[in-house]
Symmetry: none
Subunit: 255 residues, 2 copies
């Protein structure tokens, strides 16, 4: 199959409908076809259709959903567009290197390319649901690309990989199991939070930002399906022992 058909572009809370149309055109120009819109402010809109030009078919087939999680469900890799320095660094690649990984993985499973709001990008919470962050190198004096322009640059990098005909190497090629999908990984984090709360391990003040650090650990490592099962099995076992001991949260509020 064509790897580009395994890649979806997700636009989160886009405020300018024109950007949606321009992104659709950029996608079609480069051979991408799956557009997801998370709660766009105004859509459908004439401005979107006008800017899409001959990519109106792609707009017509766009999937509009309410939440980030719905938009990335079924994808084993979610890549978040990130401009800013983060207090807790996340795996981050420039557009060219990130696209090499995206294109390689898209031969095996779904990949979501996620772009945030025009004014504020993706929230920390959204970025922490991604395994990888992607950044377009830019002028430090004015680094904020228009949303559709960012889609264009990344789509172009993917197209260049397709026309190159050669595949970048990937350390994980030939893995024995599929990567877990984004929704399965989210359920794992929910399970972690519940179990660690019951164990009294998560403290109210959370000086170590435990959940964020666990999220970063397991997002960057690209869990496979059996690993998710093993970790959830361990958590279930821990919950069993807490209940058997009479439950409780001995040294914290379990928040």
């Amino acid at each position: 199959m064509n790897p580009l058909d395994n890649i979806r572009v997700v636009l989160v809370h886009t405020s300018n409908a024109g950007n949606i149309g321009a992104a659709a055109r950029a996608m079609k120009n480069m051979g991408l076809s799956h557009l997801y819109l998370v709660s766009p402010h105004r859509y459908p809109a004439d401005e979107a259709t006008w800017r899409a030009a001959n990519a109106a078919d792609l707009l017509d087939r766009a999937v509009v959903v309410e939440t980030f999680d719905e938009a990335v469900a079924g994808c084993a890799l979610a890549v978040g567009s990130s401009a800013r320095e983060r207090s807790i660094p996340w795996p981050l690649l420039d557009a060219r290197r990130a696209c090499a990984q995206i294109y390689t993985e898209a031969q095996r499973h779904g990949v979501a390319l996620v772009f945030g709001r025009e004014d504020r990008g993706l929230t920390n919470e959204e970025l922490q649901k991604c395994q990888l962050h992607i950044n377009i190198p830019s002028n430090p004096e004015y680094s904020s690309l228009n949303l559709a322009m960012a889609v264009q640059v990344i789509a172009y990098e993917l197209r260049m990989l397709q026309v190159a005909g050669t595949l970048p190497a990937d350390a994980m090629t030939g893995w024995d199991l599929d990567y877990a999908n984004a929704d399965a990984v989210e359920r794992l984090f929910t399970h972690f939070e519940q179990a660690l709360s019951a164990m009294g391990f998560l403290k109210a003040d959370a000086p170590k930002q435990t959940m964020t650090r666990l999220r970063r650990l397991f997002q960057r490592t690209r869990l496979d399906t059996m690993e998710v099962n093993i970790l959830r099995g361990i958590l279930t076992s821990a919950q069993y022992w807490v209940r058997k001991a009479g439950g409780g949260k001995p040294d914290g509020d379990g928040s």
Copy 2:
């Protein structure tokens, strides 16, 4: 000198003022600063200023001229953007390869990057005033990029040449913590084995090869020092609950 300062972007007979603004923003985002406009249909225009966002300074300094020849005067290389097959082939490179040449030459002399009309591109006469044609690889089913998008892609390729050698090659560059040492990671695996045994999670038959899979998971992820501490803290907490519940290995031999 910075080669990017030796490159000018020339927009010929642009009909949509918004595209001029968007091109200016794309240029500034990528570190280009010299914009020439050949007989724009409508300029200055609010739409241009609005789309330029924080690149309004670049618009203010744009040079508006009457003819193609005035716009490329003083440049030793003029590169014309070309989408179409020509009856008489001209030297033509894709964006990446053309930009390599442009960037190299811009260290010595002025280079003009010329973009044509939204609907018809550059005329044959204009293209024949260029030494080189540049083409952005695109989807044959819809190959016509928006004008400002084409400027963005080419400006991005030039930026990539400028930052080459300075980009992190590794997704983990700039991590906030040191990687854990091998001995600390080994102690973590010992701790896992002890805790999971006490919890009764490791079975004698070990159908899932749990420890091997945990080892593979945490070895490939390159644990940092705090992650080791968090994981060991979780294991210690689980051991506490097992002891509190009266210890035991409810469903296995704990080997």
